[in-house]
């Protein structure tokens, strides 16, 4: 795919790498947002210059050895495989070995110019201490090899300077595309059967809707492809002329507006899910002895979680323990809690905003159980399955363990369940949450 609108970067990179026969810079650093064409430009330039390249995605590099072996096998063109046996593919564990192998590879191939392209190179910082400095200075380490390392990242160079022995690479910045440039690039997606003018109109319509939500090229491309069929339909049907932009716009507008809410969320459909979810909701209502509540009151259907009865109470108790200050427990959960002193009113006002802004606080297990026993009105014995439910909630990430100096004797937790989930759970057990919540009662 040809590059458009990146002439400056292409020229700069070509200049940096130089012509055949010259020594390449030891490392180049390309940075810019995702989808700004770093990979595209680098590949394009390297191909034009005829440099032998290897392209590695650093997300996959969970240990240096993966990186080394991938680079070597890509440079030599050998395929790592199970069946050819381990002997033929090079095994390489350390930087030292890597340097050695590089020299032999370069020698056997006739000293070509080589490049290592590292996608998502910020991941290398967590990999091994010596790997980032080592790659920066690969040129120094391998005197007879003409090799360059091209780092690509969405982060800027400052974030890389933490490791010792880091050598400043040459930096090329890829700024965000402007609206016009985006238009030009997106136009390339035109299917060969449609006319240029028609597609251009379409692109500008899509861009006008989505430009405020995202400037990520990949996402825009996705949206362009998603909606083209719908856009074109009236024309194909013969209802609307190709150049009647206004009617076409009226036709597609609601469609695009709806798509706005799911930018980045590529859920194909959830018809099956919604159908079954309805079943459950009617079912949970039956499950409980409480009076029936209007189904519509479930504000968001997705917030509904199917939980056993005691788990629901545990979750609510955990929520209360997280958001209420411990000293108010007496007031909420004891039958006869003396009178409240007036002077607290002023303090309360201050805290009202804080408790929900600051987020959940951690609480000890004892407090959780105490609240639980007081909100479940009937008598329950602490059975093993009750504690099992606690650990189920933990594994569902509705609660998380939080600090606590002694995890065995006095474990502490925090309730991180979304508010909608807690609210829908409260509704299903007929529990008036606001009566027990500090700052709302």
């Amino acid at each position: 795919m040809e590059v458009c609108g990146r002439d400056a970067q292409v020229k700069l990179l070509t200049g940096l790498l130089g012509q055949e026969g010259t020594l390449m810079p030891s490392s180049v650093f390309l940075h810019g947002h995702s989808g700004t064409g770093k990979t595209l430009v680098a590949r394009h330039v390297l191909q034009c210059l005829g440099v032998l390249m290897s392209h590695i995605n650093c997300i996959e590099v969970y240990c240096p050895q993966v990186l080394f072996e991938a680079v070597l096998s890509q440079l030599t063109g050998s395929v790592p495989s199970l069946t050819t046996g381990q002997s033929s593919s090079i095994s390489c564990d350390s930087l030292g070995e890597f340097v050695h192998h590089l020299a032999t590879v370069s020698h056997t191939l006739g000293q070509p110019r080589m490049a290592i392209m590292l996608e998502h190179s910020e991941r290398l910082r967590d990999c091994a201490a010596n790997i980032l400095p080592g790659l920066c200075r690969l040129q120094e380490l391998t005197p007879d090899v003409n090799i360059t390392v091209i780092f690509m990242s969405t982060l800027s160079l400052e974030k890389f300077r933490i490791s010792t022995g880091f050598m400043e690479p040459l930096v090329v910045h890829f700024p965000q595309y402007s609206k016009d440039e985006l238009l030009k690039i997106l136009e390339k997606l035109r299917p060969p059967t449609t006319s240029e003018e028609f597609f251009k109109n379409y692109i500008s319509l899509v861009l006008s809707v989505f430009y405020h939500a995202t400037r990520d090229l990949a996402e825009l491309m996705h949206q362009v492809q998603q909606h083209f069929e719908v856009y074109r339909e009236p024309v194909v049907q013969g209802e609307v002329e190709e150049d009647d932009v206004r009617r076409l716009w009226r036709n597609i507008e609601p469609h695009l507006k709806k798509a706005m809410s799911t930018v980045y969320l590529r859920e194909v459909s959830r018809t099956h899910y919604d159908k079954m979810q309805k079943l459950i909701e009617t079912n949970t209502k039956d499950l409980l002895p409480s009076e029936s509540i209007g189904l519509d009151s479930f504000s968001s259907k997705t917030a509904m979680v199917e939980l056993p009865l005691y788990s629901r109470y545990l979750l609510v108790a955990a929520h209360l323990a997280s958001y209420n200050p411990a000293r108010t427990d007496r007031r909420f959960f004891m039958k006869h809690h003396g009178k409240q002193r007036k002077t607290q009113a002023s303090i309360k006002a201050k805290e009202r905003c804080s408790s929900h802004l600051v987020g959940p606080k951690s609480f000890p297990l004892d407090r959780l159980m105490a609240i639980f026993y007081s909100i479940v009105e009937e008598e329950i014995t602490p059975t093993a399955s009750l504690f099992t439910q606690l650990s189920t909630l933990l594994s569902l990430q509705l609660l998380i363990p939080s600090g606590g100096d002694d995890a065995l004797q006095n474990p502490k937790y925090k309730c991180v369940a979304p508010h909608e989930v807690v609210h829908s759970v409260c509704k299903s057990i007929n529990f008036d949450l606001s009566r027990y919540t500090y700052g709302q009662a």
Binding site: V79, G85, R266, R270, H272, L287, S292, P308, A384, S395
Partner: protein
């Protein structure tokens, strides 16, 4: 969770049978660090069967052995019947979701592979496939059931879509490295999971080439996949083979995997392990489950799904299942997704996420750019409450199974399900425990067997055994109600008694069948009533009916009131539902057929009344229009007021007259139905010989089913013999102290005698005086004031263990004292 985890991780799987008999809860919770002696589990060694543990709670002298045999045989019979039904349910329960899920995976796989094969597509097309197809299966929080669900999903996938399936669990995937290894080794080494159904063959798992840990990179995977394709094309026999799934999907699992023959030029060691193992695995499988021949339910569902799909493509996708998405580390998850999307052109991976809560969780745990790489479709597995309903209907309310649950055990199991875990698997385990308890603890269960076997069984019953039956309370009352001559015969004449027993048992069977149908009728009648006093589910009605006479309950009275308030249309639809239930189930039962006739008669009258009143209404309307006021449309003008009042009065007069006809019919319906219920919906305890077929003692199973950590702990400390089963710790009296008790137990018992604060030195003295008794004779003189260091060390250890268990804690209030955290001397 504690219990379950230990239950799984212990090197030898403890069966519930063992749990019941030997290994008690304390063993699992771990109060003492004593190891139970276990038989080494060698393959050739004799298998420990439940029969070895089959102890009788009652004493029968020399009859004991025979009883043991008989009850055990009955138990196995019953359990086989139940587990057959359950197996069928398990296979069918998710068929609807799996159908759509598998179709989706298949379609997505085809779309992906079409891309893989031709990598030089125009860029626009490439981009439209930028995302990894993902199926998000929302399973619900019932953790124990999840394994079974995914097992059957994997089985279906292998049979229909692709042999390459990997299952990842969060506990094995704490780092990206581990996750990649798990994924790639399972994909390449594939085929293994199919044999994992039996844990004994765990070693057979790897059926493909073994993969070295260091080799697990996506590059290797993509090369491997390309090779698979090329070998697949060379050998068109297996992929193109027409799918005869209806005949033997099981067989296809092996040959269809392209690894059937060793790779060309593969080193000999490769061909050694995998292929042989795979071959040795398959015959043993067919031997193992002979009942799984043609037409078994599992095959039926498989073939029904497979037949819906087009022929398996020659380029099968790779399916990666992440079973518990919530517990995955978000970073590992995001990386995994990014990698899959990076390589989507080389390897067609379809992801399946198992989500317990809501699908939104996926986007919450994924990073933004990773979730942009997913094309997700959401599926919802059958909620476990539905599954439970089916289990209750098919197993508990079935006439095939001679064993029935009584009111209290049923309520217990139901409560555990609804309040604690929503797990059908646990419900079934509970049912099994109840069954065992019934056959083990009740002598009369000798007679509890399928109706067909009963005559033969009764023929062999000895008179001593018969006496046991005669002693049953329900039989006694039956005898007392009989005429005196009959009484004598029943008590003395064995063969006569046998005949009577036989007929009584048959009667109970018929009665129970009718009972179950009527329970469904009650449910159909009452589940729409606002407030649903009897609940909306059959299980709730069943729970009530099993424990009390239905008509006397408050709930029923309320429901009756609800029916009495129903409008005509409502009543008609409800009666229609009742009719449907009856039509479906009435079978050969006379009472039910009669009921059916009666209900349809009543319905006929109701609907004809409908026409009647309609004509009446019309007449009235005509009358009204003849009046000239234009029906109900009365215009309100000041002059009309008087006439309006008149009109209203007139209407009010008419109304009661009109509806009273309907009302009387309605109350007739209600009367008729509640009469039926009064006579047939008595609890099982009203039937003679109900003890034989019904299990009532919930207390006995409660101990097994509901783990109580705290009582277990105190029992273990107060009476170690209970768990350790050793000779040395036997106590005549629970509070007595013996030297041979474990130190911890001695320290515990001593501390019970103290107040809130315990003086450590006094405690030590007491401890030494108990524990040191054994070597008192030889060195009593030497031991004056000085305390043996060894004893002191043991004491310190015991005290710190007590602190760890939460009985005491250090205090600063008094030096050399610790504070007690429990009260009383229990």
């Amino acid at each position: 969770m504690v219990i379950q985890q230990r239950y799984q991780t212990s090197s030898v799987t403890i069966t519930w049978d063992e749990l019941y008999n030997g290994a008690k809860l304390g063993d699992l919770i771990g109060v003492f660090a004593f190891k139970r002696q276990r038989q080494s589990k060698s393959k050739n060694g004799p298998r420990v069967s439940t029969l070895d543990y089959w102890s009788q709670a009652l004493e029968w002298g020399e009859e004991g052995e025979a009883f043991k045999e008989l009850t055990y045989r009955n138990y196995t019979r019953c359990w086989t019947i139940a587990s057959d039904i359950l197996q069928e349910l398990q296979d069918n329960i998710h068929s609807r979701v799996f159908q759509s899920l598998i179709t989706y995976i298949d379609r997505a796989g085809r779309k992906l592979t079409s891309l893989t094969v031709a990598p030089d597509l125009p860029s626009s097309l490439v981009h439209s496939l930028a995302s990894v197809p993902t199926a998000c299966l929302v399973t619900g929080v019932n953790m124990p059931d999840r394994d079974a669900t995914f097992d059957s999903l994997v089985g279906l996938l292998r049979a229909s879509v692709t042999p390459h399936v990997a299952r990842l669990q969060s506990k094995e995937c704490s780092t990206l490295r581990a996750a990649m290894y798990k994924m790639i080794s399972q994909l390449i080494g594939g085929g293994g999971w199919a044999t994992l159904e039996d844990d004994e063959e765990e070693e057979v798992v790897m059926a493909g080439p073994k993969v070295k840990r260091r080799q697990c990179t996506m590059a290797v995977l993509s090369v491997w996949y390309r090779e698979q394709l090329s070998t697949g094309e060379e050998d068109p026999g297996h992929t193109k083979s027409p799918i005869k799934a209806t005949q033997s999907p099981r067989k296809r699992a092996y040959p269809s995997s392209p690894r059937k023959k060793p790779f060309p030029g593969s080193p000999s060691k490769l061909s050694r392990s995998p292929v042989k193992r795979a071959l040795s695995g398959s015959p043993s499988k067919t031997e193992r489950d002979p009942q799984e021949v043609e037409g078994s339910p599992r095959k039926k569902i498989k073939s029904s799904i497979i037949s819906q799909l087009p022929e398996r493509s020659s380029k099968p996708p790779l399916v990666v299942i992440l079973e518990d998405l919530e517990s995955f580390h978000p970073r590992v998850l995001s990386d995994l997704v990014l990698i899959c999307s990076e390589y989507r052109q080389a390897v067609p991976i379809v992801l399946v996420f198992g989500v317990a809560t809501t699908p939104d969780k996926v986007h919450q745990s994924l990073s933004h750019n990773a979730s942009a790489c997913l094309a997700m479709e959401v599926f919802r597995a059958e909620p476990s409450t539905h599954y439970l309903t089916r289990v209750i209907e098919k197993v508990l309310m079935s006439t095939k199974l001679p064993f029935h649950l009584g009111g209290r055990p049923f309520k217990l199991l139901l409560d555990i399900f609804l309040y604690n875990d929503l797990s059908v698997e646990n419900f079934i385990k509970g049912l099994k425990v109840c069954m065992m308890e019934h056959f083990m603890g009740h002598a009369s269960s000798v007679l509890c067997c399928p109706a067909a076997n009963r005559p033969a069984l009764l023929r062999n019953v000895t008179s001593a055994q018969l006496d046991l039956v005669r002693k049953l309370p329900s039989f006694k009352t039956f005898v007392e109600a009989a005429p005196p001559k009959e009484q004598v015969a029943l008590l003395l004449d064995d063969s006569h008694t046998k005949e009577v027993i036989l007929s009584l048992l048959d009667k109970v069977d018929v009665w129970y069948a009718r009972f179950c149908v009527l329970v469904k009728v009650v449910n159909a009648l009452t589940n729409r009533i606002p407030g649903a006093p009897l609940g909306r589910q059959v299980r709730e009605v069943l729970a009530v009916c099993l424990s009390r006479p239905l008509v006397d309950t408050e709930e029923f009275q309320e429901a009756e009131k609800g029916v009495r308030n129903m409008a005509r249309e409502e009543l008609l639809t409800v009666l229609q539902n009742v009719l449907d239930v009856l039509k479906e189930h009435h079978g050969e039962d006379k009472v039910l057929s009669e009921l059916l006739n009666e209900v349809s008669l009543l319905m006929g009258r109701l609907s004809s009344m409908d026409q009647l009143t309609q004509t009446e209404e019309e007449e009235e309307e005509e009358e009204a229009s003849a009046d000239g006021s234009g029906g109900a449309a009365v215009t309100l003008g000041p002059s009309d007021r008087f006439r309006l009042r008149e009109k209203l009065l007139e209407m009010a007069k008419k109304k009661p007259k009109k509806s009273s006809k309907y009302e009387s019919l309605r109350s007739e319906v209600v009367h008729f139905l509640s009469d039926t219920f009064t006579s047939h919906l008595q609890p099982p305890t009203s039937q003679p010989l109900h003890e034989v077929l019904f299990f009532h003692s919930s207390q006995a199973v409660k101990r097994q089913l509901v783990g109580l950590p705290r009582p277990a702990l105190t029992t273990a400390l107060a009476n170690p013999h209970h768990y350790l089963q050793c000779k040395c710790c036997q106590l005549e009296e629970p509070s007595s102290l013996v030297t041979s008790l474990p130190d911890l137990s001695v320290a515990y018992k001593l501390h019970l005698e103290c107040g809130r604060l315990i003086n450590l030195y006094d405690w030590l003295q007491a401890f030494v005086s108990v524990v040191g008794q054994e070597d008192e004779e030889d060195e009593s003189s030497a031991r004056s004031k000085k305390i043996d260091e060894k004893l002191q060390a043991r004491f310190v250890l015991a005290v710190s263990e007590l602190q760890f268990l939460g009985f005491i804690k250090p205090t600063k209030r008094k030096t050399d004292h610790v504070a007690r955290l429990t009260w009383g001397a229990c």
